[in-house]
Symmetry: C2
Subunit: 234 residues, 2 copies
């Protein structure tokens, strides 16, 4: 049979199923009809029905188990998805003018807390780079980053005067693993001075740890200007 107007695409099926969940037709904990039953109802094939249900499960609405069937989740396990763009892109995306300023960059032995954090034994050298990102002339983000020399040897000769260390890294290192944390910290002297904020001001802070194939590449602490909100719609 060729594709008819009344046949349902996987998007149609997703929409119909979601509507039935949200309207309560299929209440939490209810078991949906099997794929083959839905194939009959929607007049499509298992491939299509399967894709619709699989995606709804990925989105946290359904739980699927062989033999047990497809169940409507009581509390949809919603996942917040945050895009993690380059700071420059994030700023330009709001229509603001981006400016970058290097505060300092030097090669150092890594402090103990950082070696512990990166799970590195023995001494290791790293570039310690500090920089400010401005939006429309106002401080937007203070970046305090370490780049492990063993993983990125060219870092010893890198020049960060014009390009942020993150953009520099992205040109060279395809990342494989990232651990990302968000927290609220207190503005210390450095941050307060750079952000033009009172000492002790609550600062939205992100920590980012990056590995390439098991090797630690970089650790960054990103301090956002007071009032920053990270927002997403799900």
């Amino acid at each position: 049979m060729s594709r008819q107007k009344d046949n349902k695409s996987f998007r149609d099926i997703k929409a119909i199923v979601l509507e039935r969940i949200q309207s309560g037709t299929w209440a939490p904990d209810a078991i949906l009809p099997s794929e083959s039953a839905l194939v009959t109802e929607f007049g499509s094939t298992r491939t299509t029905v399967n894709r619709a249900l699989r995606e709804l499960a990925e989105e946290g609405y359904l739980e699927r188990k062989r033999k047990a069937g497809t169940r409507v989740l009581r509390a949809p396990v919603r996942h917040a998805r945050f895009a993690i763009p380059l700071t420059r892109v994030e700023i330009e995306g709001t229509g603001a003018r981006y400016r970058y300023a290097l505060i300092g960059a030097e090669m150092r032995d890594m402090p103990d807390w950082l070696r512990a954090r990166l799970d590195l034994r023995g001494a290791a050298r790293a570039a310690h780079v500090r920089a400010l990102h401005y939006a429309d002339g106002k401080p937007f983000q203070y970046e305090d980053r370490w780049i492990v020399e063993a993983s990125v040897p060219e870092v010893a000769e890198a020049d960060f005067s014009d390009t942020g260390p993150n953009e520099w890294l992205i040109e060279r290192i395809p990342v494989s693993n990232v651990e990302l944390s968000f927290m609220a910290t207190r503005a210390d002297q450095t941050v307060a001075a750079l952000m033009d904020a009172p000492l002790g001001e609550p600062i939205f802070t992100a920590e980012r740890l990056t590995w390439l194939r098991g090797q630690p590449v970089t650790f960054a602490r990103l301090h956002f200007a007071p009032g920053y909100r990270m927002t997403t719609r799900i």
Copy 2:
């Protein structure tokens, strides 16, 4: 041809392609071979190759366009994914004992800032519920929530003494839209007292706005105990 040992599953293909991206075999901006070329290389069918590439694109590694082909993204648009569980589930997941305490609940007219936030015109009543969630006897999260009566009429008779308002809501309302924000705030008198923290302490705070089919349902502000980190691996 039946499935042979040397045939590749879509997972195999994903892994191989990802390895080629991360090793630089397929550098940023490079165009991958077309699906049919990969079908020849991997000895599978387009359905399988397509699923592998489609998922890698969803994960932010590739960009796909008809006719233009599949391109390796320079800066992988990585997405942090945070599971948003019930507070009780989050606490119990760490192995800690969960305890809930209601602080106050009453029906009120919504304040102006909230009506603006929910895009509601005219007066509207809502339940204002405040509650504390404990982990192993220590304050973990202070929840300050408004529930719109027009969207959930039963809320006027609800009893939140034993069950948190979030769990209560989930039993009744399948959500459709959520806006989630994270920020750093300063502990005010209420939060400081409840969290046993100094006034002005930086507090990791989440705001959550929920709609059902365009109707605002609830607005919650969740204040986490000092030191809270939200972490994810991507």
